[in-house]
């Protein structure tokens, strides 16, 4: 196919030929097989161009359509998500609670110590008048007068120290913040009770022994005794020991 014939066919395709020129082109297509084939290929090429243009447009609309559909779906989800929003809020609240609990735990951990538990739970022992023998008059008087050093001296001077003597001596040592000495005194009470059929000051000695261990920064022993008391409803100090928050005991356990 010559270049001039090819141009004639293109001009014919583009509808640019008129009159004799147009007739000449039609004759060429009719009589020349190569020209007819060329014309067919040109027409097919133009169809491909139009097809590609439509495809471009459809692809553009497809993109817009799916992008819009996505936005609509998201909006529907957001709007329909009163429940979802609620659950989101619930999750937020739960997260906040967890954070607060975490913070509280950290705070609790930092402020709980043997000293703090001791301070919160120590109360001076009030000596009942009915307890003890008349021989303890001097000791009782010193104790009631809160003369702790006198209590120490009187007990130290006794030849036969009873559970009461040891217990009051232990309480005096606690008041004087001599916790190690207090521990020794309360242990004596417990030892004597093991030898006697009738225990005296057993429950008192156990409770204050636990507190003395706290005072002496010996949480392991203190917690063990407190747990024992908490497990015995008949113990005189059950309520007091149970009033100590379990988390405090846990913290003491972890810290030791």
């Amino acid at each position: 196919m010559s270049l001039s014939n090819e141009q004639i066919l293109i001009d014919y395709l583009d509808n640019r030929l008129e009159g004799a020129d147009r007739l000449e082109a039609e004759q060429l297509i009719r009589e020349n097989a190569a020209a007819a084939q060329e014309m067919e290929a040109l027409q097919f090429s133009v169809e491909l161009i139009r097809e590609a243009a439509v495809l471009d447009q459809v692809q553009e609309v497809r993109k817009t359509f799916h992008a819009t559909a996505k936005v609509v779906t998201l909006q529907k989800k957001e709007n329909g998500a009163v429940v979802r929003s609620f659950s989101k809020n619930a999750l937020r609240i739960a997260a906040m609670v967890l954070v607060l609990l975490g913070a509280a735990s950290v705070y609790k951990y930092s402020v709980t110590s043997t000293s703090s538990v001791y301070e919160q739970n120590f109360a001076s022992f009030e000596l009942a008048t009915s307890r003890g023998s008349n021989n303890d008059g001097e000791l009782e008087k010193a104790y009631r007068n809160k003369n702790w050093t006198a209590v120490e001296s009187i007990v130290a001077g006794q030849k036969d120290r009873t559970q009461k003597s040891w217990f009051l001596a232990g309480m005096a040592e606690m008041e004087l913040k001599n916790y190690e000495k207090a521990i020794v005194s309360f242990d004596k009470v417990l030892q004597l009770n093991q030898k006697n059929t009738e225990p005296y000051f057993q429950d008192e000695a156990e409770y204050y022994l636990a507190l003395s261990h706290l005072g002496a920064k010996q949480p392991e022993q203190a917690v063990a005794i407190l747990k024992k008391i908490r497990s015995d409803k008949d113990h005189l100090f059950y309520k007091k020991a149970s009033a100590i928050p379990a988390i405090d005991l846990k913290v003491l356990d972890i810290k030791h």
Binding site: I10, E51, A52, L55, Q57, T64
Partner: protein, 200 residues
């Protein structure tokens, strides 16, 4: 692009014939038939992506059929689109040599409209495969050919759109681009097969 435009079947066909409203008309087809037809194709074993691709090809084919005045409104557009989509998918299945079971299933459900559109689809198969030749042209060529043959702009108007000196330069450029494309078309194996069939 305005969403929510409504077209009756007749109005939609008219809109597809006019390039001015083509985007709106195509969007209307997507809005009204995309989901239904995609579900339909998925039932026939297409993946979601395949269903979307077949639907896109269906819209291109339908637009082409309408532009050529080959659509006669004897069937509703929805029915016609379904038939076109089903034929395109069937050809895809055949090409990919999917299970014979699916083909049998397809053949069982084939109705008259589908049989009618199948000849459009066979012709389109070749176009679809050769369409890529247009994208092998460089960007200026593709643009000039699309502006002239699809947008129907005159040489004078094209000069205003593209950086060419005058109408004659545009005309020469356009002829050269078309010749390039036609050269690729003639040497494409599918075109050679077609020529051989005609000669036999």
């Amino acid at each position: 692009m305005k969403a929510g435009e409504f077209y009756s079947d007749e109005e939609l066909v008219a809109a597809l014939r006019q390039n001015d409203n083509l985007n709106k008309a195509i969007l209307f087809i997507y809005q009204n038939y995309s989901e239904k037809l995609s579900s339909f194709l998925i039932n026939y074993g297409a993946s979601e992506q395949e269903a979307q691709d077949v639907f896109q090809e269906t819209v291109v084919a339908f637009t082409d059929i309408v532009k050529k005045d080959s659509y006669r409104l004897e069937a509703k557009i929805g029915t016609f689109l379904t038939a076109v989509a089903k034929n395109i998918w069937f050809n895809e299945v055949k090409k990919k040599e999917r299970s014979a079971f699916r083909e049998k299933q397809f053949e069982k459900g084939r109705d008259q409209v589908e049989a009618d559109v199948s000849h459009f689809i066979n012709e389109r198969e070749m176009k679809q495969q050769m369409r890529n030749l247009v994208y092998k042209l460089d960007e200026p060529c593709r643009k000039i050919l699309m502006l002239f043959y699809y947008e129907n702009l005159s040489m004078k108007e094209i000069v205003q759109h593209l950086p060419y000196e005058n109408e004659q330069v545009v005309r020469n450029k356009k002829s050269k681009c078309l010749q390039n494309l036609t050269g690729m078309v003639k040497s494409h194996p599918l075109m050679a097969n077609l020529a051989n069939k005609k000669n036999q």
